[in-house]
Amino acid sequence: MLKTPWYYILVALAANDRHGQGIARDVLTLSGRGVRLWPAMLYGALEDLSDRGWIEEIDERTGRPVNESERRKYYRITRAGRKVVAAETQRLADLVRLARSRIKPRTGESS
């Protein structure tokens, strides 16, 4: 099971490489302004994800992985990260399917 902010971050990076602030804006949009990632949480998560090798930092201009203390860092999802996000998506989809099969949505009154 993936932490929700991590899932958002990975999904946001799945489409495009982005810098931190870009990720936050994207998540805000994706979630219909429902989820705002706060700075410490976002950067903490980015560090954790990097440590796990699910994302990597790249240079804005060259698109190559950066060394320490570059000014502005972009993040790119790695192959492992894509696998994780796919697996999590599958898991969530299964959960939703399971729930739908049991809980009838209360739409449309019976005639």
Binding site: A24, A40, E47
Partner: protein, 886 residues
């Protein structure tokens, strides 16, 4: 707030963020925050953003701490904010490495704490734990006193009680009871069972609900009511197998068949070890009744005990007006619990103080061991300081160590203490009141935890202080072990050793004084010969021995005469006597009209006199000494020949200066009572215990006051306890419904009467011994450590020509001076402390030479042993080896 101000503030707040994030992303985090701030409209949203951002930073901080990730290179592990976990792991590893000294420290703490837990458990059981009744705080002991007769407690008179019950406003319920024992006979034989007569409201006052059946109705609680009985759970299980059909079955009590109407749970077994209850059946209209019953009341909510007492005094007014114009007897009320713990209070506080001192010794001991270890670790500490550890950080490390040690000691102490308590209670036997229970409860757990914390603080301060004060350069340059741990450390060690010896000396002297007092009490002349005497009591039931028309109690006297005759004829019994109350048992007090007595000064209390009907053979059997006159003779007490024998205290009290009271007259407290002539004066018998003063006492011939309840005393040729079965068989043969009770040898009775004193005197002596052992160990440890630190110095001395003796003298002198100072302080303090103990010392002066000299000898011996061994080791130092060692 403008944008710039917001940026600056956030920048400031960023310092809250974990370093690893702040370090690399501060600018971007700031930009992100400003983004969010720009999105917010209005004050409320702005405030919400600030709060959210702050929470975000705090959460990240906490999260980071909890995860304890491997540190970022370049940042010392020391700098992390919450290091308790690391400290803890470090401590466990470090303690594990030093198994010996760790177990020593934990053991010492455990011993100190166990002693505290034992005593606290006792105090808790006796003082703090409530009675097993509903709302015990509202229960009060109600009784009457007669200050002018010098009686703190006279017991309640039924008509007085009846008046209070009707007229009081303060009590929800008021009841009286009279504990006593009953003959319980069935096909299996006779038994003596503790029981009580109670008024019908007694169960309601205590809040007892029967587990089976019901309790008494007011109709059953009146003269000539139906014979019914309520039994306790224990008796129910024993006699009726715990079956429900016990209700309606019968028990033959004192020769009368009683119907069982209810069963109450064991928690309701009050007072004492009572196992059955019968109705009190008092008659309120018969005004001249004896006093002597106990009362209990349940206060209405919100009524204080003193209010209740005022209310009782108000209700007493009509009684005073009618038949007690001098206000001789007046009611009082006090908390029930107080009444039951009175006897234990001073003992308990003495023991609590003693164990607290013992714990101090243990803590001082541990502190010195820890300090010695801390000094030995000065280099480690110095290095840690040098690479950037803060002093606070080091102190915290030590603090965690202390907590871990104290916790281990606390756990071990709790286990050890519970075990010791069980042992103690088993050996204390029936000294322990029945209602007290000593199970583990929340208070004991809380006490143990508090104790551990206090202990950690007590022994933790010295090492921690030295760690903080430690001088970095000194620690590093003191690289070699050639010098001791600096004057500061050494001074603290000396103070600790001196304190240990002071406390050990204090305990030793007080324990010695108490043992001496115990010894002195044991050697008090009891006034009779204690050996080879068996006593037991018999109560002839009214149903079979008390016909209404038997005015002279012929049946009773016939039984007693036959009993004496047959017992005397039994081989093994050398003489036999009967008495209402043998020494160390009951009390029957009366007041006499004494011819020619010294008149009472106004307001002076009238001393109560112990009244004892006794058979002729009693004095010889007990070996009571005749001072003047004669003992009873066959004709005494018959045909209006009324006689009385008085004791020495009686004569001293009422006829001071009179040498021979024979021929003087005494009569009961009323103008119609017949006069009795004194025929003899006997020596005092310590009726109330060896340590209690004797009251005025008299004996009358049994025929003169035939009593249904008597104690038989038998002087035996052989072991008195072995005679029990012979006596039992004889009694059964004479009346199978009679039960022998209070069967004991006189020596047993004496031992029992002294057991509380014995228990606490020995406990205190044991505590003193433990303190001494701890002090010995502590001193030995400290001296050894100091010697090991001085190896180089001593080596140089030897190399320069110091002889062995010089070395030993040097080492011993240092140790002994400290010990002597401590011991002197302790002995001085004990002189003061003994004054506080005076009540328990039975006249042994606090400066008792024997105790003091023995105590000092023991202290000196201990100190010599503790210092001799390390000194000897120091003397064996090989100068070459010690100089090369570093």
């Amino acid at each position: 707030m403008n944008r710039e101000g917001g940026r600056r503030l956030y920048r400031l707040l960023l310092s809250l963020a974990p370093r690893r994030i702040r370090h690399r992303h501060a600018d971007e985090m700031e930009a992100m925050f400003l983004d969010a701030l720009a999105d917010a409209h209005g004050t409320r949203q702005t405030a919400a953003v600030w709060v959210a951002a702050l929470l975000d930073l705090l959460r990240a901080r906490l999260h980071d701490t909890v995860r304890r990730r491997p540190s970022i290179p370049g940042i010392p592990a020391e700098r992390r904010a919450f290091m308790i976990g690391t400290d803890f792991r470090y401590t466990v590893r470090w303690l594990g490495r030093q198994k010996l000294s760790t177990s020593l420290v934990v053991g010492m703490l455990a011993v100190g704490m166990a002693a505290n837990i034992v005593v606290f458990s006792l105090v808790n059981g006796l003082f703090l734990r409530p009675f097993p009744f509903r709302d015990p705080g509202r229960l009060v002991d109600v009784n009457e006193r007669a200050p002018r007769w010098n009686l703190e407690v006279v017991g309640i008179n039924y008509p007085d009680f009846h008046q209070w019950r009707q007229a009081n406003h303060a009590f929800e319920g008021l009841a009286i009871y009279d504990a006593g024992s009953f003959n319980l006979a069935d096909h299996r034989g006779a038994d003596r069972i503790e029981g009580a007569s109670v008024t019908y409201d007694f169960p309601a006052v205590l809040g007892i609900t029967p587990i089976l059946g019901r309790t008494f109705t007011p109709d059953e609680d009146r003269p000539k009511g139906p014979p019914v009985v309520v039994i306790g759970e224990a008796l129910w299980k024993e006699r009726f197998g715990g079956k429900a059909d016990a209700i309606g079955r019968t028990l033959k009590l004192n020769g009368v068949v009683h119907t069982v109407i209810g069963v109450v749970p064991w928690t309701a077994e009050f007072p004492g070890k009572v196992r059955l209850w019968v109705p009190f059946a008092g008659d309120p209209n018969q005004t001249w009744q004896s006093y002597g019953y106990a009362g209990i009341g349940r206060l209405k909510p919100g009524i204080s005990v003193s209010d209740a007492e005022k209310d009782l005094l108000r209700t007493q007014q009509p009684i005073w007006d009618a038949r007690d114009k001098d206000h001789i007897v007046s009611p009082y009320a006090r908390p029930l619990h107080e009444e039951f713990v009175r006897d234990y209070r001073s003992t308990a506080s003495t023991l609590l103080t003693a164990v607290a001192l013992l714990l101090f010794v243990a803590c001082a001991n541990v502190a010195s061991v820890m300090l010695a270890r801390a000094l030995a670790r000065r280099r480690e500490m110095g290095i840690r300081l040098a690479v950037g550890a803060s002093r606070l950080r080091l102190a915290r490390q030590l603090f965690v160590e202390n907590i871990v040690l104290a916790t281990l000691g606390g756990i071990a102490g709790l286990v050890l203490g519970r075990w010791a308590l069980r042992l103690l209670l088993a050996s204390a036997g029936d000294q322990v009141p029945a209602w007290a229970s000593f199970g583990l409860d929340g208070r004991i757990v809380a006490f143990s935890i508090a104790l551990s914390a206090a202990t950690a603080f007590l022994f933790g301060w010295a090492p921690a202080l030295h760690a903080i004060r430690g001088n970095l350069r000194g620690a590093m340059s003191g690289r070699s072990a050639g010098t001791t741990g600096g004057p500061g450390g050494r001074r603290t060690l000396s103070i600790l050793v001196a304190a240990e010896f002071a406390l050990a000396a204090l305990l030793l002297v007080c324990g010695g004084l108490l043992l001496r007092a115990y010894d002195r009490v044991q050697h008090v002349d009891p006034g009779f010969r204690m050996d080879h005497v068996l006593t037991f009591a018999l109560a002839l039931p009214e149903a079979s021995y008390g016909d209404e028309d038997d005015k002279d109690n012929k049946k009773i006297m016939a039984f007693w005469d036959r009993l004496i005759q047959r017992l005397s004829a039994t081989p093994g019994a050398t003489s036999v006597g009967l008495v209402s109350c043998p020494p160390l048992t009951c009390h029957w007090g009366t007041f006499f009209d004494i011819e020619g007595r010294v008149p009472l000064a106004p307001g002076q209390a009238n001393p109560v006199t112990l009244f004892r009907p006794a058979s002729r053979g009693y004095f010889q059997t007990m070996g009571i000494r005749l001072k003047t006159g004669r003992f009873f003779e066959e004709a005494d007490g018959r045909n209006e020949n009324r006689v009385i024998i008085v004791n020495e205290t009686f004569v001293k009290t009422f006829w001071p200066g009179v040498v021979d009271p024979v021929g003087r007259r005494i009569r009961g407290n009323g103008p119609k009572s017949p006069w009795m002539t004194v025929v003899g004066m006997v020596g005092d018998v310590k009726h109330y215990g060896l340590e209690r003063p004797m009251r005025p006492g008299v004996y009358v011939p049994l025929v003169q006051t035939p009593n249904r309840t008597m104690s038989v005393v038998i002087r035996t040729a052989g072991d008195p306890a072995a005679f029990t079965s012979t006596a039992r068989a004889l009694v059964r043969e004479m009346d199978p419904d009679l039960a022998m009770y209070r069967v004991q040898t006189m020596e047993e009775a004496l031992r029992k009467s002294l057991s509380q004193r014995a228990l606490y005197s020995w406990l205190l002596a044991v505590f003193a011994g433990m303190a001494l052992v701890l002090a010995l160990g502590g001193t030995y440890g400290v001296t050894s450590y100091l010697v090991s630190q001085r190896t180089r110095e001593l080596g140089i001395r030897v190399a320069l020509g110091a002889r062995r003796r010089d070395i030993i003298t040097t080492v011993m002198r240092g140790g002994l001076v400290v010990v002597a100072a401590g011991a002197a302080l302790g002995v001085t303090a004990s002189l003061g402390a003994a004054r506080l103990l005076a009540e328990q010392l039975f006249g042994v002066p606090s400066y008792d030479a024997r105790v003091l000299s023995i105590a000092i000898a023991i202290l000196v011996a201990t100190a010599l042993v503790a210092n001799w061994l390390p000194a000897l080791r120091a003397a064996r130092i090989d100068p070459m080896r010690s100089l090369r060692a570093e």
